[in-house]
Symmetry: D3
Subunit: 222 residues, 6 copies
């Protein structure tokens, strides 16, 4: 009869496979002090694995990213296009506690109210005139129209938005004190979830009748 110590036995191979597969997304924390100079993230596309490329294989291009040079697609109902540079798109950022994104806004375009669960956001307008605002925990709205080279800071986790209030296209870059701050877009997190949040619950929350909730839900695919 076969010994369980036989490395060719299905039992061992399954164990090996399962353990290896489970390794992929490692919940390491890189925003505090890193433990090495850098750690180029290596993982199959779409996974958030947090393992390092072998130092001997690291090249200058690992620290370089040109993904923000292209204009984002604003051909949508918000007239807004988001292009991200987190450790997912830019593996060299891994463990370094910082990330960036580019927001293209068509005239009148809007990056709708949203929050970042894990980061403050520093906004710089590169082109156009953009209304940037956030809401404090006391529900006070702080907002300002920022133009080329002007900055606006959004504290960690608060609701904020950017709207193109100028005549032409606008370009905004935003930077975060986290390599993966996350995004919670209010309209989708409230009315576009899968499955949908109970409509009576939403009606009570927003003090509206079922009809309004039904239309809000349908606006976001529910």
């Amino acid at each position: 009869m076969e010994s369980p110590l036989n490395v060719l036995s299905p039992f061992f191979l399954y164990l090996c496979l399962l353990l290896a597969l489970f390794q992929a997304p490692t919940p390491c924390i890189s925003d505090p002090n890193p433990l090495q100079d850098f750690c180029i993230r290596t993982s199959p596309a779409g996974q958030s694995a947090a393992t390092c490329k072998a130092a001997s294989a690291v090249v200058s291009d690992d620290f370089f990213f040109d993904g923000l040079t292209k204009e984002g697609n604003t051909n949508n109902s918000f007239g807004a296009g988001l292009t991200q540079a987190t450790h997912v798109q830019f593996p060299g950022l891994n463990t370094l506690g910082i990330a960036m994104a580019r927001i293209d806004l068509a005239p009148g375009g809007l990056n709708p109210p949203h929050t970042h669960p894990r980061g403050s956001e520093l906004v710089m307008v590169l082109k156009g005139a953009v209304l940037v605002g956030f809401v404090s925990g006391d529900n006070v709205l702080y907002q300002k129209v920022a133009r080329r080279g002007e900055l606006f800071i959004v504290p960690k986790g608060l609701v904020h938005f950017q709207k193109n209030t100028g005549k032409g296209k606008a370009i905004v870059i935003v930077v975060f004190d986290s390599q993966f701050p996350g995004i919670v877009p209010a309209p989708f997190a409230l009315f576009g979830t899968k499955p949908a949040i109970d409509s009576q619950l939403l009606a009570k929350a927003f003090k509206v009748d079922g009809e309004v909730v039904t239309s809000l839900l349908s606006n976001f695919g529910n």
Copy 2:
């Protein structure tokens, strides 16, 4: 003529006063490793000062809080009452990285969708049956009806809610990995801000017409 070095001169007294007054709210970070065993917060009511009571004056009651024993007032449109225990109400929590709150829910009562900018939330139902849910960054809704003694965890910064789905009153306690996680109640942060967020901006964000936005704003005092 009076010397500027005269400690009785108005100049010196003003300087002293101004500097002293400026000290009150110190933005210290206490969620990481503290630098002393404890630091009982001392400050005028309503301020978020982060200074310590002299160790010699500290007594056992400084570490004790009975503010969560009283039922919260649920006589409001949400049928929900929130009672907090952060370092503001419970100064002994200062620098210790933890806070708690009690939520009373009338039958059908709702703690409307909200986020905490600076903390994860562990929910424990003390009484009744409560639907607890949160929405991930991928807009997936995770929800569960929890009963006496059952727990539900809400990751940092994500939209979540609690609704009493039982017949009688419900009591929930929530704990945070921060002494002051903050609260962003979605309906108020979107439609109840001071000043109001531009109604056209909101209409575009939620894909509704001006009438709906106007009623939503008026529901929350705008």
Copy 3:
């Protein structure tokens, strides 16, 4: 002769197996800012692995835990029963910086003096009257009898205890600002270690003769 590149060769399978097995307990730090919304811990029972369940496989029950609904067994010399909810029992807590435990105390029951190496503890009494106390670094004892709904905070790393001083059973829940604060029970850490601490060393430390130490050691299995 077989090539070493043959993936079926024992050499490769051993390597694979060893590497995979070594992965299990990854010492990630999750108390600071996480790098993803959540990370459901996946690992063989009894291991403290810190790897994530694939997002597509995550369900609502991963964020739910009913292990604290059952009364702990107080049929022991301390009349105390501890039931934990850390990331080991409740994988959904992984990376979220918070944990909870339930302590059942028979009349006169005692949770003996202990420390948590990696967390502050917020105590809430759910039932009965419980004497809760801790000792500061200056050896000052702060203690209080807490009742239903009352809170007592124990600063990080300090010696503390809970004793049922009421007539009936008592129930206490404790929460931590760490997903795995650890436990150092003083009587066991001093007299119940494997191997035992040198008895002359203990005699000197507690200023007692060898007989007393011998009995103390035997009380805790040495």
Copy 4:
């Protein structure tokens, strides 16, 4: 009649005085990333204030400390002398996340079992032969006799001790990953507290009769 705005009025002076006095112990966290190159702690002796000396007044001696060159007094029941170098004795350490101490041990001398609530400890023996040990959360004792230049690491918050097992005097230095790790000496934190922990509670915790507890308490001044 005197105006309340008169800076010479007792009201203003009292306010000024109270606010200024309240400032002294500020619970700042300096173990994470500091916000300036350095911050020489300035405060009345014995206080743990965390304010900075003006940069213009900082001199090289602020970064220098010779307090560990003197032999500690081992003329006590433990035959041990502790000399500390935390931000209290060495203000230049403030905000830099590190501290040191020197332990002198007479032949047979013992630094009794203790924990540090906020730091790991790296032990280096400078002279003699010293038994260094710690107890894990699983109550496993790890111990080793270390000699000149040898290191032993004690994980954060665990019970540990150092005992001179050589013929002559021993000198040990210990370093911490915190500028103020704190100290909880087990014998004193259990039996030498002010006020004393209830003797029946201690008897139950250590499974001994009242007589033994009474003698243990009296050994430590109770």
Copy 5:
């Protein structure tokens, strides 16, 4: 005779004055999780005090900064102009863990090799062609010519530089995962210190003769 409790006595006024003056620069850490939504830094110019503006006095402009819109002065030996946006210039950044700077480079202009003691740096070229490089702890040089909209990441604490290799002016913005990362410009930190580092020490460090060191020192004002 005057009572020491007389608040008008010089003793009390001196005490008040000294304590108040000592308060100014509080070494709080704001890069980790803040303890409030925001904390607008208030302090006399040139000081790094970390106290908050009263919430009631906070206005939208506190979160806005236009200091990076102006071209920096490149009329110097390096052909480089640095304009910073840290919590010193932009008080709204205080406690939010992020900072930015603008570097203007004349044709051939150079931001000489330097390190940031407390932050990683994400570089974005806004105009021109810029050679950006850093050196790892293994002394490997990673460098790349970046153009408009392209990014290059510099890990925390490593030596790096930016040089305009294009025909016209270049503009670079850099962002940090700290509100005050600090700057250590290598040429000045080595040869331009006050007082100068001992010339024999420098000669030995760089393996050159005294003449070369003397000229290097004189190049930087020594």
Copy 6:
């Protein structure tokens, strides 16, 4: 025909192997609060893997290190020998936020100007007279001759050096508030990089002519 689900198929074995191999260097952060008592680092030599030895296999020797007892080789142009005790040489330090090194200095020996990207450094002289200095961000040099048992603190990330100014050999130990602070030796990071930094860039940075740069580069192997 073979099914892809056959665990013996090359496809599965390759996948398993690749994933397992990718795991090795995990960029975990251990300087903050650890999530277990300890984690003995296990990994093939030369890798910076951050995985834990199985608790059952951990022995006292895992917490012990004698690598600093041997004199470092000072037979080099600097007359300095560095012996490190980080988690690479001393796996027991892993996740515990502290590291140490021994520096041996021949008479006149120099540890040339360098920075540590991720840690403050506390210096203790064990033997001899050593000039220890660092340069602040304002380019102020703070230095002091320290002798046996005397301490000097170097703030995080600043340029510093140690030089033997005594008659005989000197021994220094340095401790860090990070298990892997990194080292950036200025002369090598500027003139000894692979590939070399552009010589015209260096000439401009140090305001010297090409000849001087050429000799500096050649002094460090370029």
